[in-house]
Symmetry: C2
Subunit: 764 residues, 2 copies
Amino acid sequence: MAKSADIYYKLDPWKIIEKGFNKEYAKVSESVFSLGNEYMGTRGSFEEGYSGDSLIGNYFNGIYEAAELEKSGYKGIIDRTEFIVNSADWLYTRIEADGESADLNTSAFEDFERVLDLKSGILTRSYTWNLRSGKKIKLEFERFLSMKEAEAAVQRIKITPVDFTGGIILSSGIDFTQIHHMTGKSMWNVVDIASEDTAISMLGSTVSTDQALLVSCLFQCDYSSKSDCREEKKLVRRFVLAAEEGKTLEFTKIIRNISRKGTGKEDKEAFDKKCQENFKVLRALSYEKLKEDTLNWWKNTWEDSDIAIDGDELNQQGIRYCIFQMHQTYHGADKGTIIGAKGLTGEAYSGNTFWDTEAYCLPFYIFNNTEAAKHLLEFRYLTLTEAMERAKELDCKGAFYPIATITGRECCSLWQHASLQLQASTAVAYGYWHYENITGDEEFLFNMGLPILIELSRMLATRGDWSADKTRYGFYGVMGPDEFQMMVNNNCYTNYLGKKTLEYTLDVLNRCSEKAPDRYQEVIKERGLTAEEVKYFRSIAEHMYIPYEKETGVFEQHEGYFNLPHVDIDEIPIEEFPLYHHWTYDRIYRNDMLKQPDVLMFMLMYNSDFTEEQLRSNYEYYEPRCIHESSLSPSVHSILASQIGKEEEAYKFFGFATRMDMDNYNRNTGEGLHTTSIAAAWMNIVYGFGGMRSDGKELSFAPSLPKEWKGYSFKIHFKEDVLFVRVDGKNVKITSKKGAGIPVLIYGKPYTLGKEELVIPISR
Amino acid sequence: MAKSADIYYKLDPWKIIEKGFNKEYAKVSESVFSLGNEYMGTRGSFEEGYSGDSLIGNYFNGIYEAAELEKSGYKGIIDRTEFIVNSADWLYTRIEADGESADLNTSAFEDFERVLDLKSGILTRSYTWNLRSGKKIKLEFERFLSMKEAEAAVQRIKITPVDFTGGIILSSGIDFTQIHHMTGKSMWNVVDIASEDTAISMLGSTVSTDQALLVSCLFQCDYSSKSDCREEKKLVRRFVLAAEEGKTLEFTKIIRNISRKGTGKEDKEAFDKKCQENFKVLRALSYEKLKEDTLNWWKNTWEDSDIAIDGDELNQQGIRYCIFQMHQTYHGADKGTIIGAKGLTGEAYSGNTFWDTEAYCLPFYIFNNTEAAKHLLEFRYLTLTEAMERAKELDCKGAFYPIATITGRECCSLWQHASLQLQASTAVAYGYWHYENITGDEEFLFNMGLPILIELSRMLATRGDWSADKTRYGFYGVMGPDEFQMMVNNNCYTNYLGKKTLEYTLDVLNRCSEKAPDRYQEVIKERGLTAEEVKYFRSIAEHMYIPYEKETGVFEQHEGYFNLPHVDIDEIPIEEFPLYHHWTYDRIYRNDMLKQPDVLMFMLMYNSDFTEEQLRSNYEYYEPRCIHESSLSPSVHSILASQIGKEEEAYKFFGFATRMDMDNYNRNTGEGLHTTSIAAAWMNIVYGFGGMRSDGKELSFAPSLPKEWKGYSFKIHFKEDVLFVRVDGKNVKITSKKGAGIPVLIYGKPYTLGKEELVIPISR
């Protein structure tokens, strides 16, 4: 693997610390120091301006723009795509003294330090600015997004003239001129500007999607000399501050950002009302209260979500950073928000959400924030109509969920992904099934899951086909999650998940008809489901072809995979990675090399369907063929390696997971964080070393301790309780917070968890 | 099949006649009445102007423009494409009387007739124009391109005031404002305009490719009142003609078009010199001489190229039209010219040339114009460098010939075709082999063929791969000529042609080393060919995997094809054709349906490799699976059906061939003629009913007579002689023009052809 870590930040169990500023790392740090609160996200850019390489990015969940694509002339290939849009820079600040502007790219400075405190969500930064005039000014910056009032954020700047008394000019405001970097254009029109004595605001609307964003700032500072500088898309208030040697000036900016996603009349009226009341609400916000609420929010969150690792400072810092970013990105505060592939930290992948949501992120939320998990699944219900439209475009019945989306519409312009990958669809079924398996929430399932399952089954019944001899059903011309095998037949993952989806649909139909007959009748009627259809679902589920070699116990990734030319991946020169850049496009698809696991993936998702022997055979067959060009890949390998007792491999593959972004493994963290990999890191510890399995009838654990660690612990939400699992050199210790008497399996044996600590010797 | 014929033109053995003008058919007729002389082509548009639907198209072989494409970000996908460019309208004319302009879209008219005389290549047209003022003017148009002086063309207009005496205004000139319809833009800058007493000229240059075109006209007419109207890109001379009742005014315009393809200093100097001498040369041209030469050219051509059919007027007219268009499009006058998919009759397929050249067109030239065949093959030699560049882009060694090209560079922007189809490359080897097999021209082979064969073999040795168990060599991730099966492994056609290419390379290397050792040493050195490479070529040829089912004798189109879901093509509703427009793109690729034959194709190309039993088994297996969405498909089926005695099917599939464009079968003749299908129509008769085979050691014939016909005859050039094959109700009669004593097989038995007619009873 042509990957290596740059350990750039200082080690600390609860903080990400940058000591001294390395310009080479400017954009990576902008991503790493991103803040988010699900509603909005802001990259860790220098608010005082930075003339070096930078991506000032401010994103709002669900605020997007669209681009028309060249018409392909072929059916089912999209001609319009949507992307999360970079919006106003609401942290905009400039600091001037003696005619010089603070700019870490050109100014002289010392004692630079930047700290992200994971416990509080507060980002601070400080340095001493050495002016060309010989003077020194100490600058301290603080910012945070409120975790309670999602629209609110705070910026505080402290300015201390170290060795002089005189004027310092601070300009602060709102900048709507920021371009969207992927398109090179500003995607905003400014439709209103307002300014009052202590507050200003700007109202922008997206150029083609008719969404809106009101950004407003309340300034708290020395107001003796101020003036406004108003441009078409920029409003800046200029304060001339009388600074006294050694005395610290404090400047606070309280920001309120109101976004309008909907474009209907009601949405607009509600938004207009909020805008009218905005300054009043804004003035009522206080730094202290916002901070207190945010600290409390994080305190509560960590109390039930922490993972502690004893004896591995790197991964301790890494995993807490992951958990922090997961909660920042999404915590189910709002229905209809999504988890973009880069969260709210960059423009790459267009802010679109992928199957990663259900396959990788959902487990984190199921076990950390059940409500959030539910809301994630609800997004697919809210976009069922779009998925049905898409199915029609693809000559299918039912619902075909998009590979990449913001609003539910397919945004992936590469037909070979958008038309051939069924994994987004089956992952929705998997997500509902997984959620229900843990929560037992049948009401939600019957209300939202069932209509989806019916439409998914319809899609599976029309997208698939019977083999030439009519004995086997399967999917032809598909691409599995392993994107190095394109347009194959009977991809094992696709067929397996298809079978599972159909079986689950039949199961839920059955249960709904028994337990909620009214709802059942309602759904059947609403969906026009016939007995023939249900019979056909059963038939194709029964006849689903799962390529499998009995003698070896190895599933064949797709029909014919075993005959493919073999590539010894260890012989590929390091400089040829990433392969997408160095190998001709089609060459990648002509051999047995995998980008990420297909067979191992479904063997993890439906783990209890397989024997350990099967897991071993398949792991040993596929692992050497996988190059992990997806950041999601190593964790799956680590978890399964752990399960089959390959402790060293498990630890080796874990190495990638918690620090992928902090250490810029993939050399592209500057574009934004690998948010969904962050979720995989959590799984890697809980499912991997913790040996948790959530696909069986009972929750089970089979912890092991990497020899590099002294111990570790994790917490998970389960059935309205919180389980606390600790593993030390000898024992596994489990308690439940409320002592609700939860039945679990540990190393395969049944136990009931109470408040009292259950202590079991590590047996792996 | 959702296709049906519109019999619009009148039947005549030597003419295409349009009686009365149907606007619905305007664009189809523009294509059908196209004239060409390899150097240039002009569509059959109304020169006097037509305000209805029209594509005025004037194309020059090798004069092209380029377009930059969106960068794909993946390696090996092109970001620039080239297309033949529409150029000046040099037939531009307007006829006015009483303030009205002749325009067949808006004017009243009667007695419209348009005739293309296939014997002479002259297009005439006449009608009586009924003016709104009540007057009548008879208009007669004649045009032809010189088949001797390729740069020259003639337009003659006769104007007869039927019932009045008065002024008629005729304007005529050169119009460089014509847009290229595919891009919607004019692709020309006009850099010089000149006018003299009886001649005018305009010099244009292409906007980005720096090519040039000098268009000049010499006017012969009543010059008493003339004036010039000069615009930026248009120069028109206006003649006020004093017309006398019943007296015919004659207007003649002799056109000379000089194009410059090359952009080097020498090219430019030579071109400038030609431009300077242009008016002198132009003035020396005469209508009579140009016409005489052209008539002679066609007379000679028909003498040795005609196919006569007794008892089938439709196909008699059809096949002569095909032969006529083949000679118009290409006759080897110039090296480096190509046969575009639409010849010089439209912009569709960008004027690019495809594998059709070697697979479908070359046989026609081998047996009608050997020199032309040689020049066609030479084009691939002249573009070997570009093919080697392309191979590099695709991570291969050697040469990878483009799927679509004008200058040798790949112009196909669909990676799934440009990267996966090897057929253009192997067709080059096939072409050289076929040419040599008939001509025995080893000198040409050693000089031009051998370097190509070496580089093709190198490509095959690097593009292919060994199966997992290392026992079989083959090509993975390919698309065969049947474009309904994408990214398959071990496509039988590709592997078979690959094997043949390698074997031929080894054979030619061997023969060259024996017969021309100096040339052999030169090539080996120039190409750096090593003994290891040659050994490897032999090894992969020997181990080439040809999927074949012994029990049934059926070749499997690709590994796994037999397991594909079956589509009963008779059950596809007619309104779903063409499938590319009605089925989602990926759906086309998910079953056993064929667009055009793969297995049957190579069984025709290397016919003597197979037993009749094998041909039958494969025909019977594949024919019902083929929807013939390619216009090249039916002829292959017809020829093989003939061979295995399925006479009715042979005739049924032939039905499509000769009249495809005249009857607008594919509903897109308006875009241009299906030039390569025209070639297939010739093959259909000669190889099909005539049962000629040219892949064996001797040329062989096995004629049959469709029961719908009374008889037929065809002529072919062979070994500097011309064979004349006649088939009537009872016998096959063959003579040779020179009586050179050519050995042939007839129904498998050897004969030697002399001047004396050989008469053999039909035995099929």
